[in-house]
């Protein structure tokens, strides 16, 4: 059974309460069209689950397939250093059709990142973090993007709002009953 090996920690990008009964971890690639399809689904799932759900995003750029994926991740990490990770994450998924260098520079400017910060990011300042996410994902059984883990266990079921909410609610109830 594939289980999330690196537990959610301080280096993770997190939305939702730390004591939420369910944690959903996504391993994603900003250029992956399936991650793009899943992006609005997860937004809706978050809305419906409210405080019962903690959502975590980890990098899994498939750079051999997606030439812009690593630079997009570098931009998001630079935004994270400025406290604006989720704005960058959303911006990238809402503009998956424009992830070239000029576009990324433009998003960086919109996020208020200065040129030096962007340059350092693209020169690899955050690559160790991206590598660590990727490597931890491989060890956890990530089998493509997006890969979802619910309370540490890989979820291989359908990725529509209804299916996800059903599973997450069930896990939340079980966690509540066990506590």
């Amino acid at each position: 059974m594939s289980r999330l090996t690196p537990a959610v920690g301080p280096s993770d990008h997190v939305q939702g309460p730390a004591n939420a009964p369910v944690t959903l971890v996504e391993y994603g690639d900003y250029e992956c069209p399936y991650c793009g399809e899943t992006y609005p689904v997860l937004k809706e799932v978050q809305r419906l689950m409210g405080d019962k759900l903690r959502f975590v995003f980890r990098n899994f750029p498939l750079s051999q397939m997606h030439p812009h994926a690593v630079r997009a991740a570098e931009l998001a990490e630079a935004a994270a250093a400025a406290g604006r990770f989720w704005e960058a994450h959303d911006l990238l998924y809402e503009h998956q059709d424009a992830l070239g260098n000029f576009s990324l520079m433009d998003y960086g400017a919109r996020l208020g990142l200065d040129a030096a910060a962007l340059e350092a990011a693209f020169a690899g300042r955050y690559d160790a973090k991206i590598e660590a996410d990727f490597s931890g994902g491989v060890r956890s059984g990530v089998n493509g993007t997006p890969s979802l883990f619910i309370n540490g266990q890989r979820y291989d079921g359908p990725r529509d709002v209804e299916s996800l909410v059903t599973v997450l609610e069930a896990v939340a109830s079980a966690a509540h009953a066990a506590s």
């Binding site: 059974m1 594939s2 690639d29 992956c32 069209p33 399936y34 991650c35 990098n59 899994f60 750029p61 498939l62 750079s63 051999q64 397939m65 690593v70 690559d127 991206i130 590598e131 996410d133 990727f134 490597s135 491989v138 060890r139 956890s140 059984g141 990530v142 089998n143 493509g144 993007t145 890969s147 619910i150 266990q153 890989r154 979820y155 291989d156 079921g157 359908p158 599973v167 069930a170 896990v171």
Partner: protein, 178 residues
């Protein structure tokens, strides 16, 4: 079976060759004019990844994922080989399209012969199962695993199996940035 898993077709893992068995040698075409034998790779760990067919239509494609993780396999000195019943020209087009940096062998004629010898041929479909074999440098299978056909098994099982008998080079090279 966990409650988180969808209802996936049951496969027949009991037929696959198991750990401790000597891996049957074989020779298959790797390109239209090159053959590869398992024995050519002896002395180093080998990962045999049987998969049903080229052109899986998703980013979760198993071969594309392994291509990305290749540097991690190479840290163990392990060679990855993909095998399906597709022909050499199909493999060539698939490998070029996905920019694969490891050989895909054509178990095409006689069809599925190698998959049969490893106990992972699916007669009704005419393809192999989705099956993994990790073989050590002496040619003995150290781990095998059959996944449901629709489920990409990822690479964690392969790396755990390699950990049991091979020592990785120190430097991290997970492959994310390669």
């Amino acid at each position: 079976m966990s409650s988180l898993q969808p209802n996936l077709p049951v496969t027949e893992p009991e037929t696959a060759l198991a750990a401790g068995v000597r891996a049957p040698d074989f020779t298959l075409p790797a390109t239209p004019d090159q053959q590869l034998s398992l024995s050519d790779l002896s002395g180093q760990p080998v990962i045999l990844a049987f998969y049903p067919a080229d052109w899986s239509p998703v980013c979760g494609d198993q071969m594309a994922l392994y291509n990305q993780i290749l540097p991690e396999f190479h840290r163990y000195g392990a060679q990855l080989v993909g095998i399906s019943t597709d022909g050499v020209w199909c493999h060539a087009a698939f490998a070029q399209d996905r920019k694969l940096h490891f050989p895909l062998l054509a178990d095409f004629q006689p069809k599925g012969e190698v998959a049969r010898r490893y106990g992972v041929y699916r007669d009704h479909e005419g393809t192999s199962a989705r099956a993994l074999f990790v073989i050590d440098g002496t040619g003995v299978i150290r781990w095998s695993h059959v996944s449901p056909v629709g489920l990409n098994p990822g690479a964690d099982g392969i790396l755990d199996a390699l950990d049991a008998f091979a020592t990785p080079h120190a430097e991290p090279a997970s492959g994310a940035l390669s």
